[in-house]
């Protein structure tokens, strides 16, 4: 082995402090302390989020909106307060632009169905990229099939960046939507969102941003980006499952028909027609996920207190350390950009001769949680020429010594398979 790689000292200090906020990280798995390297799938939850939801159910549980009694007013105020703080978290111009949904997938489907069905015509082009998650592909496939629209894709460079040299040719006047991820869940690639939005707008297309990976890990400013829609999930950013956000520019949301019909999304209902409620309620039919919304608010508070810039700095150092350490492992192929400044905390790789499933099982024996498979990005896997990969993904609570443990476990796996 070559000279040891210096651990990022400042980050290690902060992470240790943040780490203590996550009760689950104290548990043992298969006789070893849990090393959780699967945050791109879902993050762990800090005490503050767990407590906020517990407190809601113990003290304030009631249905929101139109309630007269104390509990209902408390529940409404907690739920709507969470929305307002979430709006500030992404710097939305108004809380009315923040629609609570179940997750990123639901947010993207809402755009494709409610906006898309009203606005997409036969022959229109929907532009995607070669690194999209299934949730930013399939809703557009459904829309394109229904409307006779066409899907086009921005290809990737060999090091896993979007090939922007082809963008001008792809962005024709026929493009009505350009939907792309701000950060790849497989390659970790951080895309130049602001520039992509600007270029979409230049041809009159809407810019729809999949923020599932960006919102938990990068500072997000929707006014700075100028995106038309942004979807993200609460559960990947320290919040509960079942919480998510669709941000949309107010004028667009006002002009759109509703997504689902039901209670809470109407002002008045007559037998044969209804009048839609104001934003954001127009898009929130039925009793929402109240505890989850409140949990998301607590997660936003938690991340805000730490500071998204600090989280990004920590993860930049950590992913850089991970890239260096994984480079020491023989027969390991690391996918995605090698430059930590354009790469989030995602380390996707393969070890020659060991299927990623076997690898995930072997390191799990040492309490290390990684993911193996296609990561809901089969078209990207196809481009990469692999059926599956192993993925270790990082968050604010991860420390360099956990990457060291992964590297040790990878060496052990190679021994098991006869190296």
């Amino acid at each position: 082995m070559s000279a040891p790689i210096a651990m990022p000292a400042t980050a290690a200090f902060d992470a240790a402090k943040w780490r203590a906020d996550f009760p689950i990280l104290k548990r043992m798995v298969n006789g070893a302390p849990l090393v959780y390297l699967d945050s791109a799938a879902t993050s762990q939850k800090p005490e503050a989020v767990i407590c906020a939801m517990d407190e809601y159910y113990r003290q304030h549980n009631a249905n929101v909106h139109r309630g007269i009694h104390v509990l209902s007013e408390e529940a409404t105020s907690l739920y709507e307060g969470a929305r307002k703080r979430t709006a500030r978290f992404i710097n939305a111009a108004s809380w009315r632009e923040v629609i609570f949904v179940r997750n990123t997938t639901e947010g993207l489907n809402l755009v494709a169905q409610a906006w898309g069905r009203a606005n997409i015509q036969p022959g229109d082009v929907i532009l995607l990229t070669g690194m999209e998650h299934h949730s930013n592909i399939v809703p557009w496939q459904l829309l394109a099939a229904e409307k006779g629209a066409q899907l086009e894709f921005v290809e990737l460079t060999p090091d896993g960046l979007l090939d922007l040299t082809t963008l001008d040719a792809l962005l024709t006047e026929r493009v009505k939507v350009f939907a792309f991820t701000a950060m790849s869940n497989v390659l970790g690639t951080i895309n130049p969102t602001q520039e992509l939005v600007r270029r979409a707008h230049a041809v009159g297309a809407l810019a729809v941003v999949d923020g599932a990976q960006a919102a938990p890990h990068l500072p997000v400013d929707v006014q700075d980006w100028d995106c038309d829609f942004l979807a993200f999930s609460g559960h990947k950013m320290c919040g509960p499952t079942g919480s998510g956000v669709l941000y949309g520019k107010r004028a667009l949301l006002e002009a759109m028909p509703p997504f689902m019909g039901g209670g809470d999304m109407i002002k008045t209902v007559r037998r044969r027609e209804s009048k839609w409620n104001d934003l954001p309620h127009k898009f929130e039919a039925g009793t929402p996920a109240i505890a989850e919304g409140i949990g998301l608010g607590a997660a936003v508070d938690y991340l805000t207190a730490i500071g998204m810039d600090n989280i990004r700095r920590h993860e930049t150092e950590l992913v850089g350390y991970g890239i260096d350490r994984l480079a020491e492992v023989n027969d390991l192929t690391l996918y995605g950009p090698q430059d930590p400044s354009v790469r989030g905390g995602v380390l996707t790789f393969n070890l020659k001769g060991i299927h990623p499933h076997d690898l995930a099982t072997l390191v799990d024996q040492d309490g290390i949680a990684i993911r193996a498979g296609h990561h809901c990005a089969q078209p990207l896997m196809e481009q990469m020429g692999v059926a599956a990969t192993a993925r270790a993904s990082l968050y604010l609570y991860n420390e360099p010594h956990e990457i060291d443990k992964l590297v040790v476990a990878l060496h052990k796996a190679q021994k098991v398979f006869g190296g």
Binding site: I354, H355, P356, H357, D358, T361, L362, Q365, D366, A372, G373, H374, Q378, M381, A387, A388, A409, K412, K415, V416, F417, G418
Partner: protein, 131 residues
Amino acid sequence: MDDFYREIILEHYKHPDHRGQIPGASISHEEDNPLCGDRIRVDMLVKDGVVEDVKFSGQGCAISLASADMLLEEIKGKTLDEVRHLDKQAILDLIGIPLTPARLKCALLSLKVVKVGAYGIAEWQEDEDAE
């Protein structure tokens, strides 16, 4: 941690006895595991109701490929009626280690290919419901 990968599993994975394809096979079928993209094809040469030869091809993890090799070892020479009776437990017995639900899908992929290929999808649905 190598308990999980018993010598016998690695042996079947690294040096399979029944890997390949059979030109002119009586039954050829392929299935994939949507969880991971693993894909296994099984070719069977059946004469008078007896599996005279059987081979698998495709890609997958050690668990799925080793269990395929072990399963094929088991069914070669048996009648199709006998093969029909092989179930999930038979595979688990062959593998001899406890499997998590996700890895169970890897282990059972080849059985699914054989069952669906030889008897149709109806035969398999039963098994999945029983899980």
